[in-house]
């Protein structure tokens, strides 16, 4: 059982590292990096479940009987695009936040908001 599932566990650990960075860190860039890591790990998870023992890349060729499952690949292609779109938007927001608040630390931003109230 250990052999059969260990790589999923590694993926879970990777995911959680990303997730931890998102929620524990106050720096916005770090948060975004964390988000990227989180998402990339989910991609790894999807791709690893597509793998078949003895299979090859899903491009049809003569003499090959077994292919890896193409569907997760397709899904993850889409998900990667979604990921970069989110990152781009998040970075744009970060730049604007820096201009408006002069800081990209969650703490400072919230302090300034509270003062304004």
């Amino acid at each position: 059982m250990l052999i059969g599932l260990y790589n999923y566990w590694i993926v879970v650990v990777l995911m959680m590292i990303g997730f931890y960075i998102v929620i524990a860190h106050g720096n916005l860039i770090k948060k975004i990096v964390g988000l990227t890591i989180f998402q990339t790990s989910v991609f790894i998870f999807y791709i690893s479940m597509a793998k078949v023992d003895g299979g090859t890349a899903p491009i049809l060729a003569d003499g090959i009987e077994r292919y890896s499952n193409p569907l997760p690949h397709v899904l993850i292609l889409t998900a990667i695009v979604v990921g970069i779109a989110t990152t781009a938007l998040a970075l744009a927001l970060t730049v604007r936040i820096k201009e408006a608040y002069g800081s990209i630390e969650e703490e400072h931003i919230q302090e300034k908001d509270n003062q304004a109230c």
């Binding site: 995911m15 997730f19 998102v22 916005l28 948060k31 988000l35 989180f38 998402q39 989910v42 998870f45 999807y46 479940m49 569907l71 997760p72 899904l75 889409t78 998900a79 979604v82 779109a85 989110t86 938007l89 998040a90 927001l93 970060t94 604007r96 936040i97 408006a100 608040y101 931003i109 908001d113 304004a116």
Partner: protein, 492 residues
């Protein structure tokens, strides 16, 4: 063309969005957006008629049959939600041009409408589709455009609110993605219909249990269910008024739809409510949401924040109805989805009108407004009464059904808590009414004119709908009941 209605519902606003880029001139773009939105509204009416007359409509995209290709599957539930979303979007758009002329710089107007249409597309796509992964894609379309729309707010806090929303929303979406992945791994399919037949075979596995947990938590993040609601108040407060009106009336409804769809259709009633202590969990969360958010609302001085908290509380009502997990309970939830869209649409549009005239929605600015903007304030009062659940408004209808559902199950204490919760609504609505009507106008403040017609017409359309559907409940109750019954597999 009628057979293509399901896809046209989504495609029309979708293709209109890039066309906006070509049109460029703001008034033109506004008109175009309005026409497109009304077209979508007409399509949704036709769809609802078709569904009510002849049952579920299935549409195979790309001509590939279901588990291999993506299919659109429209039943009473989807059609109902589609109708709500397109209706609100169209009405809100009527006021858009006037409202954003003061809140958004002119050169961004075209982009605003493009994003608005994209957001609309995203929501419609989520609701219409019958494919789990397709949900994720359209969820991201609506979310990304939502982040950008919220960040358009004038206040710099809009940026921060949008960023917070982005982080929470992306975490939520990723959770949903993980959940869908686990589901896929256990069944090998992504089609909802197919999933619902294949999941019961593996229902007892831990993987399915975890996938359910992840999907639900992800949706609840989007739903702003207490205690995952922290992003919502700021986002609603600092977004441009039109955006707030649109989102408050629709966005959380879409999340509720997903919750219902996944727990009832995909995982199935018996799994969702017997394997897990979901009933108790949602009941407790819903109730605490009602109380915490209503009490928080009482202490707000910014009216937009006040109503944002009230939205969280209202979500609590929907969740309580959902947790009852009977036909009546679900009918109550769906009715409240519809009714709450009407109330909050009217309220936030009215606030938009106040924002347009005064430039602020702080409580103190409302002094004497009852006299200066009588029609707008009357709309807020009626919306507020509806929120409280006074008879002859829509709020009463859904509250009545909710109470019935609870009493049917013999959950008396919860019924009592629900009515106590609506008392809190009395408190926060009345603070506003008192200041608006019984405080003299601030000294030295210049007098304000009534809102322009472009605001008053959509506001009063919604207010009238609030009253009309509070009196003639045939349409809403019939559709909600049909949807609830179909989810429970009871033939109407």
């Amino acid at each position: 063309m009628l057979t293509h209605l399901p896809i046209l519902q989504v495609i029309v606003p979708l293709l209109a969005a890039p066309l906006c880029i070509f049109l460029r001139r703001p008034p033109l773009v506004w008109l175009f957006t309005l026409i497109v939105s009304s077209l979508a509204f007409v399509i949704s009416i036709l769809l609802l008629q078709q569904v009510m007359a002849s049952g579920t409509i299935v549409y195979e995209l790309g001509g590939w049959d279901a588990p291999w290709g993506i299919e659109y599957r429209i039943d009473a539930l989807n059609a109902f939600l589609l109708l709500i979303i397109t209706a609100i979007s169209t009405v809100v758009l009527l006021a858009a041009q006037t409202s954003i002329s003061k809140e958004i710089p002119k050169e961004k107007h075209m982009l605003f409408y493009t994003l608005y249409l994209l957001s609309l597309t995203g929501m419609l796509g989520i609701v219409a589709t019958g494919d789990a992964f397709n949900v994720f894609v359209f969820l991201e379309i609506s979310s990304l455009s939502a982040y950008a729309l919220i960040a358009l707010g004038k206040d710099r806090r809009a940026l921060w609110a949008s960023f917070q929303y982005l982080i929470m929303g992306t975490i939520g979406a990723t959770f949903i993605l993980i959940g869908i992945g686990l589901m896929y791994q256990m069944t090998g399919t992504l089609n909802m219909e197919d999933l619902s037949t294949r999941l019961p075979e593996v229902a007892q596995t831990r993987t399915v249990f975890v996938s359910f947990a992840f999907v639900i938590v992800g949706i609840c993040l989007k739903l702003a269910l207490f205690p995952l609601h922290l992003w919502l108040p700021n986002a609603y407060t600092y977004a441009p008024s039109i955006v707030t009106a649109f989102f408050a009336a629709t966005a959380t409804k879409v999340a509720i739809y997903l919750l219902i769809r996944f727990s009832f259709s995909v995982f199935g009633l018996s799994f969702s409510f017997t394997t897990l202590p979901l009933q108790i969990l949602f009941m407790v969360l819903g109730l605490s949401g009602i109380f915490v958010a209503s009490i928080a609302a009482i202490y707000q001085t910014n009216i937009k924040t006040l109503f944002a908290y009230s939205s969280i509380a209202q979500i609590g009502y929907m969740i309580v109805g959902f947790s009852v997990s009977t036909v009546t309970g679900l009918t109550a939830t769906l009715l409240h989805v519809f009714n709450h869209a009407l109330m909050k649409g009217a309220l936030f549009l009215a606030l938009g009108a106040v924002m347009y005239r005064i430039g602020s929605v702080q409580l103190s600015q409302f002094q004497g407004l009852g006299r200066q903007m009588p029609l707008t304030m009357a709309a807020i009062v009626i919306g507020g009464l509806s929120l409280i659940g006074v008879p002859l408004t829509v709020g009463f209808v859904s509250k009545w059904y909710l109470l019935m559902a609870l009493i049917e199950q013999g959950w008396w204490p919860v019924a009592v808590l629900i009515v106590l919760g609506s008392l809190l609504a009395v408190v926060y609505v009345w603070r506003l009414v008192e200041i608006a009507y019984f405080k003299p106008q601030l000294v030295g403040k210049e007098s304000v004119k009534e809102a322009p017609l472009s605001f008053l017409i959509p506001i009063w359309i919604l207010v009238m709908a609030n009253i009309y559907f509070g009196i003639d409940t045939r349409l809403s109750v019939q559709v909600a009941q049909a949807a609830a019954q179909s989810l429970f597999g009871v033939s109407p």
